[in-house]
């Protein structure tokens, strides 16, 4: 039986192997993904993002239990940063997800960014597709703790949950980073801490301003998957993820957002944009690989040398390389 068939039949060891192949860029990964593709497209893909320590893993732990209580299965991808000093990483999100252990309807995979910026790894989107094809009803993707950078998650999921916590100053940072713009659902976690109410009020006014501005500008129906949806009012919720408070309300909002996406046609848009991104990325990589195969190392090195010596420039060099290949 092929690895893909085993995955579809619910074999978690096959699933785990396939995710490793994908992370490692193994030659087998394209074949697996190709075979799985027809089985995908059913899962609700959900991103959970926010600053380091805001409670993303703790929230995933609580949210996954609520999703399970409805009878749906959950796949989790938890991304942590690769060390900039070695190619290694300590992946610690599982620490907060211990309540999910022992449930066959839950699969949790930790991933390192492996040099990718933007809060995910290059393999995360494909890994989500695998979990989708494996039959998980809901796929929760926890990004790296992002402060300023990294809004890539929104282009890879259907619903983006942005987490804030009181008193950290993250709210102002987040606004500067444009992270509010990617939120389909905005959550003030650690609502048990003092200052939660102020954070909420602050976010409420910022949200209202943003929504008014968009309405006034007559924000066009953009093709970009990461622009907020017209016709969807971003809910602002409070949670205490560590005790599960507010999490059922969050699940209700998630379901409502999925219903909204489906009924407005936006779900199809987002699916199409995800697929477009996958195709474009593959195409770019393949074209680049072909170029590299056709240009000899000596020729490349010689050009580089000439650029360094200021005899030619990077732009003319690329133009001349392009002439080599077509």
């Amino acid at each position: 039986m092929s690895l893909a068939k085993k995955i579809i039949s619910g074999d978690q060891r096959a699933l785990a192997r396939a995710l490793t192949f994908i992370e490692d860029g193994d030659a087998a990964s394209e074949r697996i993904l190709a075979e799985l593709h027809a089985h995908g497209g059913k899962a609700h893909l959900v991103g959970v993002t926010g600053a380091p320590g805001v409670g993303k893993s703790t929230l995933v732990n609580a949210l996954a239990q609520s999703v399970r209580a409805r009878g749906d299965t959950v796949g989790v991808l938890a991304v942590d940063p690769t060390s900039p000093f070695s190619s290694g990483a300590v992946l610690g999100d599982r620490i907060r997800m211990r309540d999910l252990a022992g449930d066959k309807g839950i699969y949790i995979r930790s991933m390192a960014t492996r040099g990718a910026l933007g809060g995910l790894s290059h393999a995360t989107a494909a890994a989500a597709d695998v979990l989708d094809a494996a039959g998980f009803d809901c796929v929760l993707i926890e990004t790296v703790g992002v402060g300023q950078a990294g809004v890539e998650i929104a282009a890879n999921v259907h619903t983006t949950i942005v987490l804030m916590a009181p008193g950290s100053g993250d709210d102002v940072q987040a606004i500067k980073a444009g992270i509010l713009e990617i939120a389909d659902i905005l959550v003030v976690n650690k609502a048990d801490l003092s200052g939660a109410e102020q954070t909420r009020a602050y976010l409420r006014s910022t949200l209202t301003m943003g929504q008014t501005a968009r309405a006034v500008a007559g924000h066009p129906h953009s093709e970009q998957a990461d622009t907020p949806s017209p016709g969807w009012e971003v809910p602002l919720l409070m949670t205490v993820a560590s005790v599960g408070e507010g999490v059922d309300e969050l699940l209700q909002s998630l379901v409502a957002h999925h219903d909204y996406l489906a009924s407005s046609g936006e779900l199809d848009n987002r699916q199409r944009e995800r697929m477009r991104a996958i195709v474009e990325l593959r195409l770019r990589n393949r074209l680049y690989t072909r170029l590299v195969q056709q240009v000899s190392q000596q020729r490349f090195d010689a050009l580089l040398q000439a650029i360094v010596a200021r005899e030619t420039d990077p732009y003319s060099a690329v133009a001349s390389l392009m002439e080599d290949i077509d």
Binding site: R13, A16, T20, R98, G102, R109
Partner: protein, 139 residues
């Protein structure tokens, strides 16, 4: 020979609340370029095996300071076997009396590291065991 990072699970079974040693090892493995899934305190053997399965790790390290190794390690090994991943090498670190070491090795544990072991030695042992397993599988 691939340059993909080795994936390792570091787990802390049992009821003692000291994970300093486990964290030091996790960091040493990371600094050697490995991806270390760290699962935290009070992991049951079932949880350890499940995490090893989900994470497709190439080695499992368990740190046991409570003295319960004779009870815990066999259960970890059984759980790994039940999940069909008994080929994954298991390392045990902690305060293990000499007379217990042989019994653990007998169970199939790859190596046992006492409190004084240099981290460099542990890192090398993990790397060596994983590379041997990879070589064995591919040829």
């Amino acid at each position: 020979m691939s340059t993909n990072p080795i994936r390792v699970l570091i787990a802390k079974p049992g009821l003692d609340g000291h994970d300093r040693g486990a964290k030091v090892i996790a960091r040493a493995l990371r600094d050697d370029g490995m991806e270390v899934v760290y699962t935290g305190l009070r992991q049951t053997p079932e949880m350890i095996a499940e995490a090893a399965l989900h994470e497709d790790v190439q080695a499992v390290g368990v740190s046991i300071l409570s003295g319960a190794h004779n009870a815990l390690v066999p259960r970890v090994m059984t759980q790994l076997r039940d999940k069909d991943i008994s080929h994954v090498p298991v390392f045990v670190g902690g305060i293990i009396p000499d007379e217990d070491v042989a019994a653990l090795l007998e169970l199939g544990v790859a190596a046992v590291f006492g409190p004084g072991t240099r981290t460099g030695e542990i890192v090398a042992a993990v790397r060596c065991a994983v590379e041997r397993a990879v070589a064995g599988a591919s040829g």
